[in-house]
């Protein structure tokens, strides 16, 4: 397998470090995938930086992972794509429970539903999202099922258990 060239990734990491100082937490390479970590306070700014000042201008995905034993509890990730040079990066941040993340809706309008989904399933509030309602589950649903402490068999009050 060809080795991944880390030069462009390091250059982008320098740009991020110049811009965000110690709020940029570093770069990680794993299985030929580049992940940049930033502090949650610059989450939307870093995403805006990727879109408007680099080639990584297309959002592909927004994802969260729950680590209940860890503090901060959640990982929040976006995948940004550069259609120009056919590469992509992952931008990640950590969020404590109930800590709101800044919305990316102003950067990519399409992030709106992805954030609603994460609010629905993980209970991550997104500050500034124009319409933060439940998306997949009914409006009166209790709990956030993709959290690790939510039983796979359904809510405790469910009649179908």
């Amino acid at each position: 397998m060809p080795q991944l060239d880390l030069q462009p990734a390091r250059a982008l990491a320098r740009l991020l470090a110049d811009r965000f100082g110690d709020k940029f937490l570093g770069l990680r390479e794993d299985r030929e995938e580049i992940t940049y970590w930033v502090d949650s306070s610059v989450w939307a700014d870093a995403a805006g930086f990727l879109k408007f000042e680099t080639d990584f201008s297309v959002l592909e995905d927004l994802n969260a992972v729950d680590y209940p034993e860890r503090n901060p509890r959640f990982d929040l990730a976006i995948i940004c794509l550069s259609m120009k040079d056919h590469s992509w990066v992952r931008l990640k941040t950590m969020l404590a429970e109930d800590q709101p993340a800044d919305t990316l809706e102003r950067v990519w309008p399409g992030a709106q539903w992805y954030e609603r989904e994460m609010w629905d399933l993980f209970g991550i509030p997104f500050q500034g999202n124009s319409d933060l309602r439940r998306l997949l589950l009914p409006a009166d649903y209790q709990g956030h099922p993709l959290r690790k402490d939510y039983p796979v068999t359904g809510p405790p009050q469910s009649a179908y258990r």
Binding site: R31, S57, D61, I79, M83, W108, P109, G110, P145
Partner: protein
Amino acid sequence: MSQTMITGDIVSRFTQEQLDQNGYTVMNMGPQHPSTHGVLRLVLTLDGERVVDCVPDIGFLHTGIEKTAEVKTYNQALTLTDRMDYLAPLSNNLGYSLAVEKLLGVNIPERVSHIRVMLAELQRISSHMVWLGTSGLDAGAMSMFLYCFQDRERVLDLFENISGVRMMTSFIMPGGLMADLTEGFLDKVKEFLDYFEPHIEMYHGLLTGNSIWLNRTKKVGVLSAEQAKDYLCTGPVARASGVDWDIRRDFPYAAYADYDFKVPVLTEGDSFARYMVRMAELDESVKIVRQCLTKISPSGVYRTDDRKVVAPPKWEIARSMESLIHHFKLFTEGYAPTPGEVFQRVESPRGELAFHITSDGSNRPYRMHVRTPSFPHVQVMPVILQGHLLADVVVVLASVDFVLGDVDR
């Protein structure tokens, strides 16, 4: 129709006062409407017959696949992926398998990659046949539906031939394929292509020059390239709006780098452009499958020989203790990739399908997130439908071609 009769929180974005003042009507389309192609509910605010606002309501098919995958071993979770985009299960299998293989760092034999390409393209043909048939039906061209489903049936027969199942095949699995190709399968594929290729011409004859079809689709549901990018649209929807992007060409996976095909791109962004892009894709898929036929040997290796990932053949288990242990370990525990995460995208018939799998070093995915192509395509509906006639809603929905199982997961 008043707002209050709609239960839950989903209503028009307008207040009752505004509705009354402007004489707007709130109308519920779906979830049981045949043209929503599944169970999608659209809350339409209408000014006469014009759509002023549209609020999509999804989640009727939410089955918690991402949550369920967390308690299944990697091999078991494969069967869940079939059920997301139920019109293109093999594309889902392919995306999932590639993601798990990337997580494990397994190399796949070349023949397997070529077979995967062939199956993915046959799946594209069958999926596009459902799209073409149903969108024709929605616009009143009933015969399209009958012809297209006949052709789709032939593809499903091919899948049945190799896997024993018509739809939820799970045939592509991490580490290779479930089984080798059956005897004479490649001849059957060739037979199908010879049968199918003239049909594309026939469909063009039935619809492309049809003045009713042109009136219904041209300049209807226009999406600009900027909007397509901002709303994460991919696949034929984005390509019809002038976004020249195809994962098969731009991030080649499986064996796509070895194939010669064009990526059809149009710039109009209307329903007709989406139709033409998909029709051109049918031609390209046939071309790719024909190339596959020259590259695939009728029988041969169909799995990786990494015993930690796929079970050894039966004859080996009877003779070797080590193989027996491998077999036992695989079917009781499965395999455990090292901690980390992967993001693997494939071009499904509907657009970009990506699996984002996080491993914590155990034998089950710690988190499996699926970036499905249909999800953003439903989100963009209010943008496309703004100002359209109610009758056009049906055509636009059909031209975007989403699958609700894919949206809700």
